[in-house]
Each structure stands twice: as C-alpha cells, then as structure tokens.
C-alpha cells in the first residue's frame, strides 16, 4: 500500500537532525513540520522572511503581516526573527540552511529537477526554488512517484524546463526512498507493503536495486 501525502511527510521528518534550520516548500513539504521526531529540535525558515515559524494561528488571531512563503497565515515561535528577502536568500545561498524539502514535477537520475513551468500551459514561476536547489547541499524532494495519468516522474532526463541541475540527492515518494548518485537512482527503502517490482515499474530512469530493500518504518 503506497503512502499518502502524510506518510511521505512522516518519512521525511525522520531525516531531520537536531539543531538544523529547515526550509519547507509548499505542499507535502509543509506537512513535515507536523511530524518532528521526539528529542529533535529544528527551526523552520520561510523565504519570505521568518526564521522560527510556528503553527497556524488560532481562529481570529490571524495577522495579515505574518505569513509564510505559501502566503498562509502563521505564528512565530519564541526566538523567531523577521528579515528582508535579501537576507533570507543570503541564508539560503550562503548554505546556512541545513535542509531543503520541496516538491517536483520531474526528477532525473542525474539529480536534475523540474518544478516551475509547463511550456505553453502553466507558468507560475520558480519563486525561491532555483535559489534553494542551487544552494543547498541537502535537498530532499517530496513527490508522488508518478503523475495522475500514471506516468513516472522519476526519469532518465527531465522533459520540462529545469529548476536546477545535479542537485537532488534524495527523493521520498509514495512508493519509495531513492538516493541519487553516480547518475542513477538507488532504491533505499520501499513503502510499507509496496513491492520492489512496483517501484521498478514506476521508475522510468535507471534504478539500482540492492538485494535487500528494507521497508520504511513510519
């Protein structure tokens, strides 16, 4: 049984390490904040200008001047700080943020990622994604293994305009955890109840499968 979005978020949350500053993209990545493992303290950076982002405000306590990069109303934790966009990307580009989690439309086996444009159809813009993927040493992509039409998003080469090249090292999907190295996908874990065959079938790029593929613990 493949994971739902919450499951993907829970699995990614296991990658968090104590003391990390973390930038979570819109969508599944945002959910990661809800599943921080016990004993782990991290601080969330939102690129529109807050470090120490807290949970959504209580009903009636929203502040139009306090939002995250997804334009959602939020709160600030004790020890939070606000800053301008140049400083925000100084943090990101200067590699002061230890982990970036973001979504993707496509990922290729050489670590390329596409998530900002479908020529002639959809052009929302890259927002901060190009800065994030070009800068961060540690990027995890959170996405469904295939699109709604059942076509694999784990490719030999991306077909859509790129967001960044050679930058993705780990992907967590509804089916599996994959590492990217040496120009190939490497199967690391499979979702509970998902067979290696299912993952192989759903992966269009080259996939290295070890003899033993452990099941995720969620």
């Amino acid at each position: 049984m493949s994971l739902d979005k919450t499951g993907i978020a829970k699995r990614i949350a296991q990658e968090l390490r104590n003391g990390w500053y973390v930038n979570l993209g819109i969508g599944i990545p945002t959910l990661v904040a809800n599943y921080i493992p016990e004993g782990i303290e991290v601080e969330f950076q939102s690129e529109n200008g807050i470090l120490g982002m807290g949970p959504f405000p209580f009903d009636g306590e929203e502040d139009a001047d306090l939002i995250n990069a997804g334009k959602q109303t939020i709160t600030a934790m004790d020890g939070a700080v606000y800053f301008d966009s140049a400083t925000s990307f100084a943090m990101i580009r200067g590699q002061h943020v230890q982990l970036t989690v973001l979504g993707a439309m496509e990922v290729s086996q050489d670590g390329n990622i596409a998530n900002w444009k479908i020529p002639g159809k959809m052009v929302k813009g890259m927002g901060g994604a190009m800065d994030l993927v070009a800068s961060a040493d540690n990027i995890i992509v959170a996405m469904m293994h295939s699109n709604k039409a059942g076509v694999s998003k784990m490719l030999k080469e991306c077909s859509l305009p790129l967001t960044g090249v050679g930058c993705v090292k780990k992907v967590v999907t509804n089916l599996a955890v994959l590492d990217i190295k040496d120009g190939k996908f490497h199967l690391v874990e499979r979702a509970p109840g998902v067979s290696v065959e299912e993952i192989v079938t759903a992966t269009a790029g080259d996939l290295v499968v070890p003899n033993h593929v452990p099941e995720m613990k969620i």
Binding site: N48, K124, S135
Partner: protein, 232 residues
C-alpha cells in the same frame, strides 16, 4: 530633512506611462495598496513592474493588470492570478521570471552601486541563457546584473518625517531592497511620526533611501490564504 508629502496624489506625482516601477510586497503582504489604487486612478500604461508577485485578480497588481496598464512584469512567482496567466499566454504581457533570491539581490545591488554579481541560482536552466558562467568553489555560477527603477514604491508599518521606515513582521520582504533601488522612492506608511520618535537602533530603512513619504488613507491588508487552527 522633511520628506512628507500630503497624500497618494502628491506622493505619486511624476509617474508616467512607460516607466519602470518597483513595488514591494510578497503576495498581498506588505504591498503599497494606496499607491496601487492611485496608479489605477492615474491611468498610466505601458508600465514595467518589478515585483515579486503580481497580486490576485482583484487586488494588488492584479488591479493594474485588469486595466492593461502593465506592459511587462519582472517577478519570481505569478501564480494565483488568472488574468495574468491569460495575458501572458496570449502574449499581451511580457514576463521576465527571475529566481526570488536573485530578484532580491539584484534590487539590493541596484541600490548599493554593485552593477553585477555571481550567484549559483539558475545555472543550467533557461534563466542562465546568454549569461556568463564562472566556476567558484568548484560550483558554476552565473553573472546577474543590478536592477533599478524610475520609481520604487514601498509600504512600511511606521515611518518618520525624515523617511526612516520600520516594517512589521513578514511585511518587510522586498520593501527594504526596493527602497534602495528607486531613483525616486515613495513610502506609504500606516503611521507617520515626527523625526526622533523612532528608535534609531530599530529602523529598517534609513531615510536616505526615501524621497517621499505619506500616511496611507486606508489599508485593507487582504489575506491570501487564511489558515487557522481551533483552540482546544
């Protein structure tokens, strides 16, 4: 050094069609609402707008899009706006999409007299097309140039008569860099106080960057994504 002008009418005097204008804000947060409404009233057209986003259909820069006042948008993210998408896909609207960090840094550079800088953002993508690539620390970087504007329009929480500005929370975003990069910078503020009332240690934008300041008539401060939780 009194920078105070009476209102948005006086504040935006001199803005003409076909000019380049920077506007602060992220989404609808920290946008200069009063000035945008004045731009609608003025009816100037052919504008090149540098702004991280393009508003929503009926608020923010969306209002200028409705009136086809914008010729070109320079932004990082333009979702949540159907009219924008329609004009862009039909070719009525020129759009230059820039990585958000590069946009912020290019505005700062424009204000700081740095004509160009290298950044890793966008290397290997269409953003890098035609741009110089150079390797630093084993990593390719592209050369980006500074952005400036005929007018920069920013929104602050408090300002003083000398043009010093304080922003609130995440409404700060692009406002400080754009304030630096305007040939003429206009600040609309929620509260205008006499010089000396703001703590000089807590000012975000020094008045030297601001040529005109006025207190906005009315701030709707619309929320784009109202997300809340229940009290237990």
């Amino acid at each position: 050094m009194n920078k105070v002008v009476k209102d948005k009418v006086e504040g935006l005097a001199g803005i003409e069609s076909n000019m380049t204008i920077m506007l602060g804000g992220f989404g609808l947060c920290g946008i200069p609402e009063n000035s945008i409404s004045r731009l609608v009233e003025m009816g100037v057209t052919g504008l090149t707008c540098i702004s991280n986003n393009a508003g929503v259909d009926d608020f923010g820069l969306g209002l200028l899009l409705q009136g086809k006042q914008i010729k070109k948008m320079i932004s990082s993210y333009v979702g949540e706006n159907d009219e924008f998408e329609r004009q862009m896909l039909s070719g009525e609207l020129e759009v230059d999409l820039i990585p958000q960090g590069s946009l912020a840094e290019r505005c700062r550079a424009g204000g700081a007299g740095i004509p160009a800088f290298f950044t890793p953002a966008g290397y290997g993508t269409e953003v890098a097309e035609g741009k110089e690539v150079r390797e630093y620390n084993g990593k390719p970087h592209i050369l980006e140039t500074a952005l400036t504007a005929d007018f920069a329009i920013v929104k602050a929480w408090k300002g003083d008569t000398a043009g010093n500005l304080v922003y609130k929370a995440t409404a700060r975003n692009f406002n400080p860099m754009m304030a630096m990069a305007g040939k003429i910078t206009i600040a609309e503020v929620e509260e205008l106080v006499p010089a000396g009332e703001l703590n000089p240690n807590e000012i975000h934008t020094p008045g030297i960057f601001v040529q005109r300041i006025f207190q906005g008539e009315k701030f709707e401060k619309r929320i784009e994504q109202r997300t809340t939780r229940q009290k237990h």
